[in-house]
């Protein structure tokens, strides 16, 4: 579902992403770990077609992002760290708008069902987004993904700033999507959440994918050690 082939992005002399090779299949959640500037967000921006690669290719559902940027977006949903919806519109209206411009038409009841599935309380459906917390906005983002019937979900630090309960709920939602066969790529700093929800975990540094694991094959403490070693935090590694 998500493939990168020697994907590289340079800004002048600086290499933000260096020959990244990645493969995320349907029903997998791939968590990209790394410090700030490791290349996680650059990878997501390239997969979204927000920026153009210097070399290499990215594919979503077997379509080249560079050549078919618009077509690839039919299959994907994206939730950034701060999901900014239209504050003057309600949750139902935002969902109707974003699914509508993506070519999906739903009735009011169907829209409410998606919001319910995403875990939003029913009494918030008709409230304006300006009154929503970050966690509630992320749930609307998930509802958009559900409404779009997205095959690919790109998440850029979605749990950053969420309280533990909201973060846990978000993790559960990702598991639901995984069970529906959605391929998810999540950039995060949160090792715990990555271990909990991820099927695969990759550690990036200086634009390169340094290590990859199957989540089941590694414990949280081993993951932590691997992360600290990769980051050269010798004094922190035991």
């Amino acid at each position: 579902m998500i493939i990168t082939d020697n994907l590289t992005k340079k800004y002048g002399e600086h290499t933000a992403l260096d020959h990244l090779n990645l493969n995320v299949n349907a029903g997998e959640i791939y968590c990209l770990l790394g410090a700030n500037g490791a290349g996680k967000t650059t990878t997501i921006n390239l997969l979204l077609g927000f920026i153009e690669p210097t070399s290499g290719s990215a594919f979503i559902n077997q379509l080249n992002v560079k050549d078919d940027a618009k077509a690839t977006k039919r299959f994907l949903a994206y939730i950034p760290e701060n999901l900014m919806l239209y504050p003057g519109l309600t949750a139902v209206e935002n969902l109707d708008y974003f699914s509508g411009i993506a070519g999906k038409k739903f009735g009011n009841n169907q829209l409410k069902t998606f919001l319910e599935e995403a875990g939003l309380q029913a009494d918030a459906f008709g409230n304006r987004i300006s009154t929503f917390s970050k966690g509630m906005r992320q749930k609307v983002g998930i509802a958009i993904a559900l409404a779009k019937e997205a095959k690919v979900l790109l998440l850029d630090e979605p749990t950053s700033g969420l309280d533990p309960k909201a973060s846990n709920e978000f993790g559960l939602l990702l598991q639901q999507l995984r069970s529906k066969g959605v391929a998810t790529l999540m950039a995060t700093h949160d090792l715990f959440r990555a271990k909990e929800v991820g099927s695969h975990i990759g550690i990036m540094k200086d634009g390169q994918l340094k290590q990859q694991f199957v989540a089941e094959d590694i414990s949280l403490s081993e993951l932590e050690q691997a992360y600290l070693n990769t980051m050269d935090y010798k004094e922190l590694a035991s």
């Binding site: 979204l48 618009k70 994206y78 999901l83 790109l154």
Partner: protein, 476 residues
């Protein structure tokens, strides 16, 4: 995407207080400017009516005097003003040559605050032909009149800028652009549709405002369909141009602040700078001949002609044998010589007067050639034309008055040279002036504006990807 964009953009607009405020401001501006325009037109009508009333009273007095004279009674007025003398009628009882305001005159003051709307040509003197300008406050000239044309040409673009400068940049700044750009849509199409809705909203307001103005004034838009729809078409096309500029600025310029500065800069260029530069160039390339020199030349010519009046009169009578005197008891006086010399003066002066007119025409041609550079010039000219207050209208009025003064003068020539008295029976045959609007409504400017706007939109739609050359974040 279109229906969703329209539906939700409209919802957001209707819920936004600043949009509600801008909408009210627009309606108030249209209402106030139309009221202002109407006041000016009313004043103009009253001035003309007062002048005509004065002529009417004067005529009643003249007819009474004539009646007394014809009945052999003595009249207590100076001898030279007794209306049995044709020259007294031609001189002291002139007709009003008035330029009645057109039905749409309230739209644009145009040249109306620079030129007079009525004159009274007499058989003596021709200063009226040079004296068409009115005394006007320089402060008013500096700021212009607060009429509908001012609102449309100067203020409406500012409202459009306020409506449209941050359509894309606000999405960038609030962070919602990333979510939008992750949808299968073209950003330029999305911006175009958003602007389309805002154009639609403003267009609805403008149509409501103009229709209300028409109805309040008692003008049926459908009986004046050509003017009404022409005016709407012009205003909407002018708005379209500013939305097209906003479209390009939204696509290519960055932050909201930069967009606002860029659009305001374009407003200064198109609305203030280009018209004044064109005007300046027109004046430099085709300077108007000095009015003082023309008057001096006229005076010296008159002085020269006065010295040769006997000779001129002889020549005149040679050309007009029908005025030859068979009665030796009568003789030729001042008026005979004066009127005979007028024809000569007119002929001698025609190169000077024509030079003045030709230079004015060259200036107008120059501006006409380059007016497409500034949509503000096109809009203002077209509005003046609809209102009947364009330079061409006043030029037409001036020519009609000059022709009428000739007719007025010629009317008294047989009386004068046949030494015939003017009587009550001759009153009805006195020439009367009726202004005929010569310029037909033309909407060529509207076509130019439409083409320019479409070219700008096409540049945005087809040139955006090519010129930006990368993804939306690369160029942001």
């Amino acid at each position: 995407m279109l229906s969703y964009n329209f539906k939700y953009e409209l919802k957001q607009l209707l819920r936004a207080r600043w949009i509600q405020l801008l909408s009210v401001v627009l309606l108030v501006l249209f209402g106030f400017s139309a009221f202002n325009g109407i006041q000016k037109v009313e004043k103009r009508k009253l001035d003309i009516a007062a002048a005509q009333e004065e002529v009417k009273e004067n005529d009643a007095m003249m007819l009474k005097l004539l009646d007394s004279v014809e009945r052999g009674l003595e009249v207590s007025v100076p001898r030279w003003t007794i209306p049995s003398s044709p020259m007294a009628v031609g001189n002291y009882h002139p007709r009003v040559a008035a330029m009645e305001p057109q039905p749409m005159a309230f739209i644009a003051t145009g040249q109306a605050d620079l030129f007079t709307h009525y004159v009274k040509p007499t058989v003596y003197g021709d200063d009226f032909s040079l004296n068409f300008t009115e005394m006007t406050s320089p402060v008013q000239l500096l700021f212009g009149s607060f009429d509908l044309a001012f609102v449309v040409v100067f203020l409406l673009p500012l409202l459009i800028i306020a409506f449209s400068y941050n359509v894309l940049s606000s999405e960038k700044e609030s962070g919602s652009l990333r979510l939008l750009a992750a949808q299968p849509i073209g950003i330029q199409n999305w911006v175009l549709q958003k602007l389309g809705l805002r154009f639609f909203w403003l267009a609805v307001l403008v149509i409501i405002a103009l229709t209300l103005v028409f109805l309040v004034l008692g003008i049926n838009p459908f009986t004046q369909a050509r003017v009404y729809f022409g005016l709407l078409g012009l205003v909407l096309t002018y708005m379209l141009f500013w939305f097209a500029l906003a479209f390009l600025v939204n696509l290519w310029v960055g932050s909201s602040a930069k967009n606002a500065v860029a659009l305001l800069g374009l407003w200064v260029v198109f609305v203030l700078l280009v018209p004044s530069v064109l005007n300046q160039f027109g004046n430099t390339l085709y300077p108007m001949p000095s009015r003082t020199l023309m008057i001096n030349e006229m005076r010296s010519l008159k002085a020269e002609v006065t010295e040769r009046q006997d000779e001129i009169l002889d020549n005149y009578l040679r050309d007009h044998p029908e005025f030859a005197l068979n009665d030796t008891t009568q003789q030729r006086g001042f008026w005979h010589r004066y009127m005979a010399s007028q024809k000569l003066i007119k002929e001698e002066l025609s190169p000077v007067v024509n030079g003045y007119e030709e230079q004015l025409q060259r200036q107008q041609d120059w501006i006409g050639r380059f007016k497409w550079i500034s949509p503000a010039i096109i809009a203002q000219e077209s509005l003046n034309q609809i209102a009947g207050t364009a330079t061409k209208d006043y030029e037409g009025f001036r020519k009609q008055v000059v022709n009428f003064s000739g007719t007025w003068r010629e009317h008294f020539m047989p009386f004068l040279y046949n030494n015939q008295d003017f009587s009550q029976a001759d009153y009805d045959a006195l020439p009367r002036f009726t202004y005929q609007k010569e310029t037909a409504l033309q909407f060529g400017g509207l076509g130019i504006l439409l083409v320019v706007s479409l070219v700008l939109f096409a540049t945005g739609i087809f040139g955006y990807k090519k010129l930006s050359g990368a993804g939306i974040l690369d160029q942001a």
